[in-house]
Amino acid sequence: MVIAKGLNFSLLGGEISAIIGINGIGKSTLLRTVGKVQPKLSGTIYLNDKNLKDYNALELASKISVVLTEPLASKNLTVLELISLGRQPYTNWIGKLSNKDKAKIQEAIAMVELAELQYKKCHELSDGQLQRVMIARALAQDTAIILLDEPTSHLDLHHKVRILKLLKSIAHKTNKTILFTSHEIEMAIQLCDKILVLNKEVHDFGKPNELIQKSAFEKLFPIDTVSFDPSTGSFKIKK
């Protein structure tokens, strides 16, 4: 099965980019393929000029961290234990945390404001809180690239904006590459450096304002349900 043909884009350090598109178009598949979470169907992915398939799991773990939509196997972990697992690529054979590891963990907890929740079990958290914990875990992994599959689902508007702004500032301040899938197109237009618009036939990749000029967003949904207003960068429901 072909998800997307003729897809070609590159991500740079210090940039936050979003993948948008309708349900089932292959946003998550693309993201998971980029992160080598699942085998690629076709094509080639390069990471720092080296083919992604030539990286072993451990090498990749210090380069790419992921936040996925799949449920945790065990929700009996405490928040702190879960975030600590983010340091696995750096710990010794039995997983002993060094002082540096502990500092990174606390840094991640502070960034996502989880200090009060850190001794709670994951099954005691709301979906939104758990989502933030998973993001903190990815931050603790301290990789140049962070891939997030729908990081803002389950979150209220306030936390959606907060998380995206946090991701943006992390990308800009620490020169990380952040790529996420989202249905929050309007927010992505306002916050992202670049957007990849997945469509059935054509795919557009570029800065939000360039994409608006190319009328990339108009093609996204059938014209009889919603229309895109280029002046405000938002969608309007057709009455």
């Binding site: 979470v37 996925l68 099954h123």
Partner: protein, 343 residues
């Protein structure tokens, strides 16, 4: 860190309880031996009667040591399975390993009459039984490893394991139907489970198998912790999933297969002890859980064996019945208390 000092205290307490259970287990039995005499004998002192020393050193101590090995090994294999299959109901029985051992034993005992004397199994003794059971569990393990190579999904693997269990149970039923009463009885006695009857040599072999299983588990502590997040996350954390899965499956196979071969199929320890341990230690960290289930498994098995030998009576109850009577309420209690089974 505060956490670790707390665990250290718990471990000291646990080891002391294990020692107490061990001494109590040895001091009780069908022949009444005074407690002082038991202690004297254990610590190399002279005892009043020669046969007391014999009973303690050649019957009770091997039996208690077997109970420790069986309990620890089964509990550890249960923990490994539950984490690997992300399933709180997983245990050594689920992969079909115990079923394989049962089939081996059943063929050894009852196969003779089924094949109407084509092959003569007149030499059915403990060693050949252990051998047949080991071969049975090892064959199932081999199939599981082959299937695991082809099927990446652990849930599917779990169901395949259950199907193996059904197939072997069916074959055992057919064998039992055609066999004579005497052989059937012998098979049923084996399936009751027993931690007695092991010679020091057999005990040494079992110890070797279990030590290898424990070492493989210790190297897998880090992947096991990563697997708590799920397989995709584990891979993204740098875990070599394929290798780790093999190591964990082989460790489980060795532990569960080796134990079932020597002690028969013993139920519930593998399922109940990991849950009990997670409750008491309130952690999912395998650095703590691996040593903790080993000790809890040993303690629980020693207690079950103490009950099974019905102190001061000559009767010995089937150990499998006792572990079920003790184990099943533990699982029910955990479920009722927690309302759901979290692992």
């Amino acid at each position: 860190m505060v956490r670790y000092t707390k665990y250290r205290f718990s471990f000291v307490l646990l080891l002391l309880s294990l020692l107490v259970c061990f001494v109590v287990n040895i001091s009780l039995g069908s022949v009444a031996i005074p407690f002082n005499a038991t202690l004297q004998s254990i610590f190399g002192g002279e005892v009043m009667h020669e046969f007391w020393s014999y009973i303690i050193w050649d019957v009770r101590i091997p039996k208690a040591l077997t109970a420790i090995l069986v309990g620890s090994g089964l509990a550890l294999s249960g923990l490994l399975m539950q984490t690997l299959f992300r399933n709180p109901l997983a245990g050594p029985f689920v992969l079909g390993i115990s079923s394989g051992a049962s089939l081996g034993a059943a063929l050894m005992i009852m196969g003779g009459s089924f094949f109407s004397g084509l092959i003569s199994f007149s030499l059915v003794n403990d060693v050949s039984m252990a051998f047949a059971a080991s071969v049975g569990s090892f064959l199932v393990l081999l199939v599981v490893v082959v299937v695991a190579y082809r099927i990446k999904d652990t849930m599917a693997l779990l169901i395949i394991g259950l199907m193996f269990g059904s197939i072997t149970a069916a074959i055992v039923s057919v064998l039992s139907y055609f066999t004579n009463a005497e052989e059937l009885q012998q098979y049923i006695y084996w399936s009751f489970g027993s931690v007695g009857n092991l010679t020091w040599q057999q005990l040494l072999l079992l110890l070797l198998i279990i030590v290898i299983g424990i070492l493989l588990s210790i190297v897998s502590i880090k992947p096991l912790n990563a697997l708590l997040l799920g397989e995709s996350y584990a891979r993204s954390l740098g875990v070599n999933l394929k290798k780790s899965r093999y190591v964990i499956i082989i460790a489980t196979g060795l532990l569960a297969g080796g134990i079932t071969a020597f002690a028969g199929p013993i139920a519930f320890i593998g399922l109940a002890v990991p849950h009990l341990t997670r409750q008491i230690f309130n952690t999912t960290d395998h650095k703590v859980l691996v040593p903790a289930v080993l000790i809890y498994g040993a303690i629980l098995m020693l207690i079950c064996d103490t009950i099974a030998q019905l102190p001061t009576s000559v009767n010995v109850l089937p150990i499998n019945a006792i572990t079920s009577i003790v184990g099943a309420p533990v699982v029910i209690w955990l479920l009722v208390r927690k309302k759901k089974m979290i692992f």
